[in-house]
């Protein structure tokens, strides 16, 4: 086989991934033309570090979308975690934050389990189930902190404010999820259940268990996003996570994840997050009011899904 043929074949198989990165490159070029401050190391690191919770939340959303669901409670869960983190072990050294972290992960895992049960065992649509869960979680967040406040131990939040350690965290998370999706049975089952749950069932896969586990796994990622978010704010906020719900959803869909499930790549979600972040960043640099960013987000979501649904046809 000639090199060319092999390349074409390779491209065909990985078309989604190449396309999204080509789009990312296009956005980088446009942005650097629009504003000369864009392509500076400072700005680029800034884009990355301010969006770490967003990135992790988008991974969580992607996993849920892969199993054919969607999670509209991600934002509320992240807010809850920041509230927990800001009220438990607020002073002292690194270890004092551990109970908070433990509780956060436990709470998010339990919530993930609940979402999974509601969807698989009670047959409630994922969107509605997670929306009402988010209402309840919002109440709990307000019960813990009725307004932004609290404190996260300085010692603990230190590593989360340095670029390098954030970079390391993101790399490790990315590799873990990528490896899980590609090299474990569970990862394959996630794709299978989302792609065609009937076929998955006839291959001997317990569909409900895979879905519930997917929500629990996504819960762990949400908890992590919340911990990072709390550490970087050094406080808790019962509404800070709210925008992340729509953002994570939009980023996953820009990355080509399909609402019907079973289609999507973690590497594409990464690109989707960065594209989203670049758009926000360039709007900021150009001095566009944050109000317009809501419109941009909404339109982005509608366009991204319109394009994927037209492609699917």
């Amino acid at each position: 086989m000639t090199f060319k043929v092999r390349f074409v074949n390779h491209y065909k198989r990985r078309r989604d991934i190449y396309n999204i990165y080509a789009l990312l490159l296009l956005f980088v070029i446009i942005s650097s033309i629009l504003d000369k401050d864009f392509l500076t190391l400072r700005n680029l690191t800034n884009i990355f570090t301010t969006n770490v919770p967003f990135l992790i939340a988008a991974y969580a959303q992607t996993i849920v979308i892969l199993i054919g669901g969607v999670d509209l409670s991600i934002g509320a869960c992240i807010s809850l975690v920041t509230c927990i983190m800001a009220t438990i072990g607020t002073e002292g050294g690194w270890w004092s934050a551990m109970p908070g972290i433990f509780i956060s992960f436990l709470v998010c895992a339990v919530l993930g389990f609940m979402k999974g049960i509601l969807i698989t065992k009670f047959g409630i649509q994922a969107l509605i189930a997670t929306l009402s869960i988010s209402l309840i979680i919002g109440g709990f967040s307000l019960a813990i902190l009725d307004k932004p406040g609290g404190n996260v131990s300085k010692e603990f939040s230190k590593p989360f404010s340095s670029d390098i350690s954030l970079f390391i965290i993101c790399t490790i998370i990315f590799i873990l999820i990528w490896f899980m999706l590609n090299y474990t049975k569970f990862g394959k089952y996630i794709y299978a259940v989302g792609g065609n749950s009937l076929s998955a069932y006839s291959a001997g896969i317990n569909v409900d268990v895979v879905k519930i586990s997917g929500f629990i796994l996504s819960g762990f990622l949400i908890a992590l996003a919340g911990v990072v978010s709390a550490a970087s704010m050094r406080s808790g906020d019962p509404t800070s996570g709210e925008p992340l719900t729509l953002k994570s959803l939009t980023a996953s869909i820009i990355g080509g994840a399909s609402f019907s499930g079973g289609k999507g790549y973690i590497e594409c979600t990464f690109a989707g997050v960065i594209i989203f972040a670049i758009i926000n960043n360039i709007l900021n640099l150009l001095g566009v009011s944050t109000f317009y960013q809501y419109i941009a987000q909404g339109l982005l979501l509608i366009f991204a899904i319109a394009i994927t649904s037209i492609q699917d046809k």
Binding site: V70, L72, L118, F122, G123, I124, Q125, L127, I128, A129, L131, S132, I133, L135, I136, G138, G139, F140, S141, L142, A143, D146, L246, L249, I253, F259, S289, F291, Y292, Q293, Y294, I295, A296, Q297, G298, L299, L300, L301, I302, I305, A306, S309, I310, K313
Partner: protein, 320 residues
């Protein structure tokens, strides 16, 4: 047929609306037990006033849910109608026609875009309306620059807080009128039949010669119109406008519809049930308010009740 069979048959064949009205009565009785003065005429009038706002939004939501969709943009549309009408009214009665036309147009246009995106671009209704919600949120912020201005005119205030029949304000009668129109549309017109058919089986609908596209678009337009108008009525209630005037209407309207026996999977249900669902939610809110439960617990309790309703409805659906 044995007596037992007869009994079970009665239960199987009876109107599903009975169930939700039974729950309504139970709710009222419980409230009466907790707060003896709960069923006083003043409080009932207050509950019905709240129900009128929610009920008008839920009317549009009922139509949307019967077509197997869900409109998540209603809350933002209520807010937009709220801030827009307050600004247009600017406290003067002569501005009412302008405000009404402006608000109605916004609602119709938003509904039109929702419906077109859902039918022609095949975007899932939840995602389309979610994205639309974000856009509307931006529009509200840009329009008000973050600080809503304007206030209600005397006539609008009168509409919501005046007394028409005893202590009941005119807005309740607007709601009754809307209810009659919606029930008539659903029960007596070809359009209503088509709404059910599209929700039950879109493929068979196309093949039976039903204009699926225009039916869907029309449904979203009605929903948009009613939501925006509710925003305008709310100005009369609070006197001014708020950036989160509509927030609660998203979940509450869906819950009212589902509680009323309309399935999220579409094709079944009616507005008669939704009316009871609406009143139940408003009774619950009123009770939480009177007992003076803190805000956060109110939210938690509301969420749990809605979730329980969804579970019951899901189980009913699964049994079929």
């Amino acid at each position: 047929m044995s007596l037992k069979e007869k009994k079970s048959n009665i239960f199987a064949n009876r109107n599903p609306n009975f169930f939700v009205y039974e729950i309504l009565i139970i709710f009222l009785l419980i409230s009466k037990l907790i707060v003896p003065s709960f069923l006083g005429i003043e409080n009932i009038s207050n509950i019905l006033r709240q129900s009128a706002f929610l009920g008008i939004v839920a009317a549009g939501q009922t139509l949307v849910i019967i077509t197997a969709g869900t409109d998540l943009s209603v809350s933002y549309l209520v807010t937009l109608g709220n801030v827009l009408s307050a600004q247009l009214l600017a406290g003067k009665d002569e501005n009412i026609p302008v405000a009404f036309i402006g608000v109605a147009l916004v609602g119709i246009i938003v509904g039109l875009i929702n419906g077109m995106g859902i039918y022609f671009l095949k975007i899932p209704s939840l995602v389309m309306t979610l994205g639309m919600g974000s856009v509307l949120q931006g529009v509200v912020l840009i329009f008000t620059k973050g600080a809503p201005k304007g206030n209600a005119s005397p006539a609008i205030r009168q509409l919501v807080s005046g007394n028409l029949l005893g202590p009941f304000p005119p807005v309740i009668f607007i709601w009754i009128m809307v209810s009659f129109i919606i029930i008539f549309l659903l029960k007596k017109t070809v359009f209503g039949r088509n709404v059910y058919s599209v929700g039950e089986n879109p493929i068979a609908s196309i093949r039976s010669g039903i204009p699926v596209g225009s039916t869907l678009v029309m449904v979203y337009i009605i929903c948009g119109f009613l939501s925006a108008i509710t925003g305008m009525l709310l100005v009369g209630y609070t006197g001014t406008s708020f950036l989160d005037a509509g927030t609660d209407y998203q979940m509450n309207s869906i819950a009212a519809v589902v509680m009323g026996g309309t399935l999220l999977s579409g094709g079944k249900g009616d507005y008669v049930g939704t009316i009871a669902g609406t009143i139940i939610i408003c009774v619950l809110l009123s009770l939480l308010n009177i007992v003076n439960v803190p805000t956060y617990s109110r939210q938690i309790i509301r969420g749990i009740v809605i979730l329980l309703i969804l579970i019951v409805s899901g189980l009913q659906h699964k049994r079929r």
